[in-house]
């Protein structure tokens, strides 16, 4: 696509957004999209992503109602914000979370304040992220004021193709948790049926002593493409409990970029990737330990069936001069067919001495012994396999403390079963 062709969404934009756009457009003029010759893109289906993103920009004529949003993204007590093709749909917002204090808002382009400085201070090194910056419309914003202890906020980004026309758009979320605050944020990326690409970006800042539970769910329509980029900056003693679910779309690339900037900050990231049919999913997680006494846990699982591919790269960077870093990473892939493929790549760059670090990756099939055990208890084979797949996923689902979301994810997994169990 030609990002310079993307018009701003409103006549008057905040000056900082104009700067961000201009900056991104300038960078894109000098840079080419990535190729699989680059190490960080080696396992991505970049061509398919670019092909999907070459579609027309999505328009704002989409017709999406509340029951559809609930069906696609789950429904439960939360302050909900719904954006369709990057535009806030005010009628679909709800405040069922009952937490008036949650600063859920959508900055129209004319708003004049950037809640997360790191959105502005982009180090341009990612073509998709720069494209998002250049072309995004409304920004979904969650702000938890200092010291607040709030309920759950739910941001739903809906991709809505119009008719049979493929579309592309750039959903964007900014989350700011001020010092000492506690909040839960669910971010859903869903889509109506049809060819489409979403190129998403989420910018998160968790200030000193604050805690964020953040659940990111990708459940795009079959055949769609999804690029997601989550950038997190953690302040001193800040805490992030995050989950990453990739349950839909045919081609994805999801990047987590977590910076433990403040001393004593910590991150736990649990991920589940479900790949069936001819899906190709690639996940890159980077935890950058810049502060001392920082801890990170990455636990990712992939369920890969049919002719699908799933790749996971877990990077851990420990900067010189830091002490007391603890960084652990585990990846487990479950292959359900002989034509499925999983790639796991730990990537450690340790430049300090006082470090406790571990990583491990396993790739396996369903345990025949376990299948037999369940069958010997009267459970027919397909059901036994289903239970074991659920069990494998269940260990990630347990990290979700939002009941309605966990139930929604279970149902989403169940819906994917025909695709992952096909042609085994």
């Amino acid at each position: 696509m030609n990002p310079t062709a993307v018009a701003p969404s409103a006549p008057v934009e905040a000056s900082w957004r104009r700067e961000v756009r201009a900056d991104a457009v300038g960078w894109l003029a000098d840079h080419q999209p990535p190729t699989t010759r680059e190490e960080l893109w080696r396992y991505s289906d970049v061509d398919a992503l670019l092909e999907a993103m070459a579609a027309n920009p999505a328009d704002d004529k989409a017709d999406v109602d509340a029951p559809t949003v609930a069906r696609l993204a789950g429904d439960g007590p939360a302050d909900r914000l719904v954006l369709v093709n990057g535009r806030l749909i005010a009628d679909l917002a709800s405040r069922a979370g009952g937490t008036e204090a949650v600063g859920v808002l959508s900055l129209r382009p004319s708003d004049d304040r950037c809640p997360t400085d790191s959105y502005r201070d982009l180090r341009h090194d990612d073509w998709f992220l720069a494209t998002n910056r250049a072309a995004s419309h409304d920004l979904a914003v969650i702000e938890a004021p200092a010291g607040s202890a709030l309920g759950a906020a739910h941001v739903v980004h809906v991709t809505a193709p119009s008719g049979h026309r493929p579309v592309t758009h750039h959903p964007t979320t900014l989350i700011r948790v001020e010092a000492g605050a506690t909040v839960t944020v669910v971010e859903s990326h869903v889509g109506l049926d049809g060819a489409a690409a979403a190129n998403a970006s989420t910018t998160i800042e968790v200030d000193a002593g604050a805690t964020l539970a953040y659940h990111r769910v990708e459940q795009g329509a079959a055949g769609s493409a999804h690029v997601g980029h989550v950038s997190v900056a953690l302040g001193p003693d800040a805490c992030l409990h995050a989950t990453s679910f990739t349950l839909g779309a045919a081609t994805t690339r999801v990047t987590w970029d977590v910076i433990c900037a403040g001393d004593g900050s910590s991150v736990e990231l649990d991920g589940l990737v479900v790949a069936g049919s001819d899906d190709h999913h690639d996940h890159l997680v980077t935890v950058d330990h810049r502060g001392s006494d920082t801890t990170s846990e990455q636990r990712f699982r992939e369920i890969v069936g049919a002719r699908a591919r799933a790749a996971f790269t877990g990077r851990v960077l420990v900067r010189p001069g830091t002490t007391g870093t603890s960084a652990h990473q585990r990846n487990a892939s479950l292959l359900l067919s002989p034509t499925a493929e999983a790639d796991a790549r730990p990537w450690l760059e340790i430049e300090a001495d006082d470090v406790r670090c571990s990583h491990g990756a396993t790739v396996g099939q369903l345990d025949d012994e376990a299948v037999f055990y369940l069958r010997s208890r009267g459970i027919p084979e397909p059901h036994a396999r289903q239970l074991l797949i659920e069990g494998f996923a269940g260990e990630v689902l347990e990290a979700v403390d939002v009941t309605w979301l966990r139930q929604h994810l279970r149902e989403g997994l169940e819906q994917r079963r025909p695709a992952i169990e096909a042609a085994r």
Binding site: D367, L374, L387, L388
Partner: protein
């Protein structure tokens, strides 16, 4: 109830059972003892339907040609195997698994699903009898259980599923004295005129707590001899004795 005739089992061309005959009637408790490698566990695995064996002969069970049935159909027909090494099922809760299992068996037999209240009530009372902590109902099946806890969990499943033929494969191995007493009491509670047991064990200790009607010695791929409960004690005192040389007979 169970009639095994001329059962021969081999794995990768290696013969393990060679023409085994065994008949068990309703309400009977049969014990099978025998030296290591005699094929005791193979017999239990073949009866439960484990794959990977070459099997010849016939096994009739409650009107079924047992060897023709899938493992789940054998369970639905009333066969239960308490595993020597119960498998860990990460991520699947024990109670959820048991209810799924019970309902699968009920569905196969044309019965409606068990209602949650009576299931949970029954589960709790069986767990109390087996002195299992209530937390075991929500923990993943056998995951992180000690050896003794796994064996108790097998007996719990047996109690909940109420099979007509229970095969216990070295359920007493690895149990301390207290756990053995609890497990044996669990088995004794389930004894009934309709239910048969096949108890595979190395030790007469279990058979003092669960008195068998018949004790068999499995050796050389078949039942070498059979006797009453007293045979177990004789074996404990005198061992299995020298192995007879079939080739030498009649020469």
């Amino acid at each position: 109830m169970l009639e095994i005739r001329d059962l021969s089992v081999s794995i990768d061309g290696h013969a393990i059972l060679t023409g085994l005959d065994l008949a068990i009637g309703p309400g009977e408790v049969h014990a099978i003892m025998g030296p290591n490698g005699a094929g005791k566990s193979t017999l239990s695995a073949v009866l439960a339907g484990r794959e990977g064996y070459d099997v010849e002969g016939t096994v009739r069970f409650a009107g079924h040609d047992l060897l023709a049935l899938e493992p789940e159909a054998r369970a639905a027909a009333g066969v239960f195997l308490a595993f020597q090494y119960p498998t860990e099922i990460p991520g699947v809760g024990n109670a959820y698994f048991l209810r799924t299992s019970l309902n699968a068996i009920r569905e196969a037999n044309g019965e409606p699903p068990v209602d949650a209240r009576s299931f949970l009530g029954s589960l709790r009372s069986h767990m109390e009898e087996l002195e299992m902590d209530p937390s075991f109902s929500s923990r993943a099946v056998n995951a992180g259980f000690s050896g003794g806890e796994k064996k108790r969990n097998e007996i719990l499943q047996m109690a909940m599923l109420e099979p007509t033929l229970a095969i216990l494969d070295e359920t007493d191995s690895g149990l301390d004295i207290d756990a053995l007493r609890i497990v044996a009491a669990g088995i004794e509670r389930l004894r009934s005129p309709e239910r048969a047991f096949l108890v595979i064990t190395h030790y007469p200790r279990l058979l003092e707590l669960v008195r068998p009607d018949v004790v068999h010695v499995l050796r050389g791929g078949r039942i070498e001899r059979s006797g009453g409960a007293e045979l177990a004690q004789q074996l404990e005192e005198h061992g299995y004795g020298p192995r007879p040389e079939p080739e030498a007979v009649g020469s």
